[in-house]
């Protein structure tokens, strides 16, 4: 368990968003009791709800991609932390195109043979800018 294996397993899980992996692999990366925060939803999601949302996006968009920028992988014993900038982009069916510039963190743990995700939190930069300065 080190930053190289964390990068390998996390990148492999997200490969579906660059056309090189599968949703099955993406969802298998997360623990069944993982807690997820998605940039499009103001609630904490369990894995089933997150899968439902991703299915909705896949059904209503083409060319859906995640562009991970400046990823950083940190390991503390059996704990792995991923942080990065993120652009979610694609073409909604019958609409122009869409870009959601965001940041992400993932809390992961080493299960003895591989890294698993306990959490993935994505949030738009809008959230970190809008209304940050009162008065």
């Amino acid at each position: 368990m080190n930053t190289q294996t964390l990068e390998r397993d996390f990148s492999s899980a997200l490969a579906v968003f660059t056309g090189e992996g599968s949703y099955d692999d993406f969802f298998a990366f997360f623990e069944d009791d993982a807690l997820l925060v998605n940039e499009d939803i103001p609630f904490i999601l369990d894995k089933d709800s997150y899968k439902d949302h991703m299915g909705f996006l896949a059904e209503n968009m083409s060319m859906l991609e995640w562009i991970v920028r400046e990823p950083r992988f940190q390991v503390y014993g059996d704990t792995g932390i991923v942080s990065a900038e993120l652009t979610v982009r694609g073409k909604p069916n019958n609409a122009g195109f869409r870009q959601r510039h965001s940041v992400l963190t993932a809390v992961c743990h080493w299960n003895g043979s591989a890294w698993r995700g306990a959490n993935l939190h994505t949030s738009t930069l809008l959230a970190h800018i809008y209304h940050m300065s009162p008065g």
Binding site: D33, L35, I41, L45, R72, G96, C108, A118
Partner: protein, 166 residues
């Protein structure tokens, strides 16, 4: 009366629908014992509430990564401290950070908090301010105990505004 009744019914139906869509009813407790981890989190929260910043910062690992709700960049612990110093340098008459409905997970030495929170207070010479948000924290259990290694806070407006393309 009839209108009130029907409004209550509509609200109940709406709430049930929101719960079903959001999956909030399905968020289950972890099978692992989280009591020790929850105690560490509560102590951490209390250090902030009482202004014991030395203890607050001591719980945050020196290489922790932080996304603060007011800043669109990744922060180091030093950058986070600088931001907090800006806030406590005379800008506020009082503020508090309140976690709401936290969920805890523990996988061996890895701890996760996923929760909602409100940052609120009164800026000097202004009315008051509330920042409602979601947050997640990653923790690791070191030999000396649980310490925070990641913290991501994101206000709800960013999860709502422009979530639906036309």
């Amino acid at each position: 009366m009839a209108n009130g009744f029907s409004r209550r019914g509509a609200l109940a139906a709406s709430a049930a629908g929101v719960a079903a869509l959001s999956g909030t009813e399905a968020v289950q407790a972890s099978d692992h014992d989280t009591s020790e981890f929850q105690a560490a989190f509560r102590t951490f929260v209390q250090t902030l509430a009482t202004g014991d910043l030395d203890a607050f910062y001591a719980t945050i690992h020196d290489s922790a990564v932080i996304f603060d709700e007011d800043i669109p960049f990744r922060l180091t612990k030093a950058g986070f401290k600088d931001h907090i110093d800006f806030h406590i340098g005379g800008l506020w008459e009082g503020f508090s950070w309140q976690d709401r409905n936290p969920n805890f997970r523990v996988y061996d030495n890895t701890g996760l908090v996923a929760s909602f929170a409100t940052f609120r207070g009164k800026p000097v010479d202004a009315g008051y301010r509330q920042r409602h948000m979601a947050f997640t924290q990653g923790w690791h259990k070191f030999e000396e105990g649980w310490r925070l290694v990641s913290w991501h806070q994101s206000p709800f407006d960013g999860h709502i505004l422009e979530a639906s393309p036309g």
